[in-house]
Symmetry: C2
Subunit: 216 residues, 2 copies
Amino acid sequence: MRLVDLSHPVETGMQVFPGDPPVRTELAATVPQDGFQVSGLHLGTHSGTHVDAPLHTVDGGAPVDTLDLLRLLGPARIVRVAGLKKTDTIRWTDVEAQLEEVAPGDIVLFHTGWSRYFDTGAYLQHPVIEVLIAERLVAAGVTVIGVDTLNPDPTPGAGGVLDLPVHSVILGAGGAILENLTNLDAVTWPNPVVSALPLKLRGLDGSPVRAVALEL
Amino acid sequence: MRLVDLSHPVETGMQVFPGDPPVRTELAATVPQDGFQVSGLHLGTHSGTHVDAPLHTVDGGAPVDTLDLLRLLGPARIVRVAGLKKTDTIRWTDVEAQLEEVAPGDIVLFHTGWSRYFDTGAYLQHPVIEVLIAERLVAAGVTVIGVDTLNPDPTPGAGGVLDLPVHSVILGAGGAILENLTNLDAVTWPNPVVSALPLKLRGLDGSPVRAVALEL
């Protein structure tokens, strides 16, 4: 079985969505003093590679601990879009051919290559997904999508206006969005299976995940 | 595909190993105020259902982000031990027959039923595993084990002496230990596959996980 890790490392001071809780880890017990080592973790539900639950943007939406795990562990399609520049929009017509055979329940991941900018300012000026893509996917029975960027929608700069059309469509359909994926270029075999199981965070809006692609 | 969730919910004030960091979650952004909801998470690397990496007890041991994920996602054997009372020891002779066909790389989980006491004082007085079991498993090529208790070794009361023989054998062999599993009674089919992938916590000693059993 082949496995590719699609997750960024989680560590103190790593880049997060502007305004999100900072990531910090610290020693809480040590082998010399306590006989074992334990660390304290401080982070946000949307730190690093993570899943958005409907509650992230939908009033009364499903929290992350109630998501059907079989929707976050299954066949995936990786849509590859090359040559993108900052804040470019990926349009339906750019990806339509790659989505012809998409099946209900598939996990659809968009590979832009933008993960190479993680932890830099350029990461905030990522490509975005046209809302028509989300609408067509939901119509085709796909409600779990993922991106190797911070956000499928534009990330506003200081004082900018927040607009979350892709979130609204996917999460409004009771789906889930994977963000901050990486290493999608290493998934080179056909019919990968993706696993991105959230922590069972009671009543919360999202969760960091260890996302992987598998060749079964 | 059938799936059983082997994980306890993670929530503010949940039971943790005595002295470990408390679990607390809080709202960090809300839909009315910010347009989306984000939560802050404060917990320990060994909160709730989690994996111990060698670094948890072994000086210079491997941190959790370097574990081979294919060892934490694969065929599992569930060893069932009924009728246990508090602080009972599970002996090699109790489980030998169930481990006759264990294969190198199997994940071996011990089902005691003690998870029903989670979040009560009785949970601290759990059954433990005889070190001979760990030694025999390592000799058979098994280095990932799991328990539906707080700890495969005794959990000391206030002022008690810490003794971690099972941790020393398994983690000393470069393995991993899953703790605070639940719902093992619901895994009723033969040859389950277990997934318990840790977060990619750089250089740390363990990680909360969403552990599941699958029928593939």
